[in-house]
């Protein structure tokens, strides 16, 4: 089956049919995607990996994007990519010991990362990172992204009561960690 080359199917910049071009997504929402990824992962390298995965999914889904809340859509993709990765690692415990020495040995903080940590209210970020992933996702979607409980429920495919519980328990754990 002959398949039309991908690049010829790609939407041109400035398309006006209600669906943004990739350039528009990157320029307007790039920092947002990275912020959500960083809040979920708590590490710059992991955030970068997550952004890369999100780009892959966005790239494939942009042509079918239905005009609506772009940030909600991006948040949903980012959070699901994050949780998928968590579950994948849980299914394959050997992934906890990858070739990447940073994940085996105590991480050495580079100068740029140290600087970033100083400016990123590290204490709160570390507290978020200490949450179980399901709680973390709910808290980030609620308090970083600003989603409603119903939107979070739709994004995570869990009942709204579960969303309510995860946010509440997540905040209680944050309260304990932050003192």
């Amino acid at each position: 089956m002959a398949v039309e080359p991908r690049r010829r199917r790609r939407r041109s910049p400035g398309s006006t049919d209600g669906v943004p071009s990739w350039d528009e997504v990157a320029q307007e929402h790039g920092a947002f995607i990275y912020t959500v990824a960083y809040r979920l992962t708590g590490k710059r390298d992991d955030a970068q990996d997550l952004v890369q995965e999100v780009l892959l999914r966005v790239r494939r889904g942009l042509q079918t994007y239905q005009p609506g809340s772009m940030r909600g859509w991006l948040s949903r993709i980012t959070t699901n990519a994050f949780l998928d990765d968590v579950r994948r690692r849980q299914r394959r415990p050997t992934d906890a010991l990858p070739e990447d020495p940073e994940r085996v040995l105590p991480p050495s903080v580079g100068a740029d990362e140290a600087l970033a940590q100083q400016t990123l209210t590290n204490e709160v970020q570390e507290a978020i990172s200490s949450l179980p992933e399901d709680f973390r996702a709910a808290v980030v979607l609620s308090d970083v992204v600003g989603m409603s409980y119903q939107e979070i429920s739709d994004s995570l495919s869990v009942p709204i009561g579960t969303v309510r519980s995860r946010i509440h328990r997540g905040r209680l754990q944050l309260r304990e960690v932050l003192g």
Partner: protein
């Protein structure tokens, strides 16, 4: 009741305006009458505020490059000369290239760094795809086929004796890394030893990507295919609803599995 269950679980929802009328009235009354409840509510409010106050982050340069790489190709390519395009592609991939194969001698034993190959494959974004000029002008064209069945060559790089070709059917990609030498089989991570014809091979999964290492005529090949379609379908379905192109198309599910077979056939590993 544990410490975590202590404060009324409705308090957070109340704080967020996510309680119904009846709950709102009940909690309002509770807060009005209980100092403890008021304190809990205030603590939750402060925690929420600290998270809300976290700043929007400026992505580091690496991430901006990723973002820029996802942009539409045509405008950028029109502004570049062929030489510039080649240079950009080479620079973008050079860091991965250095790590994909490590060898004692390029013509001798080679340790295929399958993890790095997967990273190199996954790092190629649309903005990195090959510019519009003939395959014969690409470095490395003499060792890689122009196309696989149903897939076109979209990227080709060469660094030293190593060549990386990426093929696409329009939505899915497969990478082939090639280098002269003999595989150090014992250096590969746990996987499944297989035989393709008379050629020894290693098959495994790295970060969800299917990876095949083949040695043929003193040449080492690493083949990286997209994540298993079952997982991809599930992710797509949850991320994008039912409008995902190709869902329900039986050929979509088969293409990934066939991709590695196509490479094997075209490169003659079974011969």
């Amino acid at each position: 009741m544990t410490e975590l269950d202590g404060p009324d679980p409705r308090l957070s929802a109340f704080l967020d305006g996510e309680t119904d009328e009846e709950e709102t009235a009940a909690i309002s009354e509770m807060v009005a009458q209980s100092v403890e409840a008021r304190n809990h509510l205030e603590e939750l409010r402060q925690v929420r505020q600290r998270v809300r106050d976290l700043p929007l982050l400026d992505p580091p340069a690496d991430v901006w490059r990723l973002l820029a790489g996802g942009s539409s190709l045509a405008p950028r390519r029109r502004t570049r000369s062929r030489a510039q395009s080649l240079a950009v592609g080479a620079v973008a991939s050079i860091a991965f290239w250095a790590a994909v194969f490590s060898s004692d001698n390029l013509s001798a034993s080679v340790t295929p760094e399958v993890g790095s190959a997967v990273s190199a494959h996954a790092s190629v974004l649309p903005g990195d795809l090959a510019p519009d000029f003939g395959v014969n002008e690409m470095p490395g064209h003499e060792v890689m086929p122009e196309a696989l069945p149903g897939m076109e060559l979209i990227r080709l790089d060469r660094s030293g004796s190593m060549t990386h070709a990426m093929y696409s059917d329009g939505s899915l990609e497969i990478s082939v890394f090639e280098q002269p030498g003999r595989v150090k089989w014992e250096a590969l991570p746990p996987g499944e030893p297989v035989t393709l014809g008379r050629a020894p091979a290693w098959q495994g999964e790295i970060d969800g990507y299917e990876v095949l290492v083949v040695e043929r005529r003193r040449t080492v090949y690493i083949i990286v295919a997209e994540p298993a379609v079952a997982m991809l379908d599930k992710e797509m379905a949850s991320d994008m609803g039912d409008s995902m192109p190709g869902r329900g198309d039986p050929s979509f599910g088969d293409r990934l599995g066939r991709a590695a077979d196509q490479v094997v056939e075209v490169f003659g590993f079974r011969g």
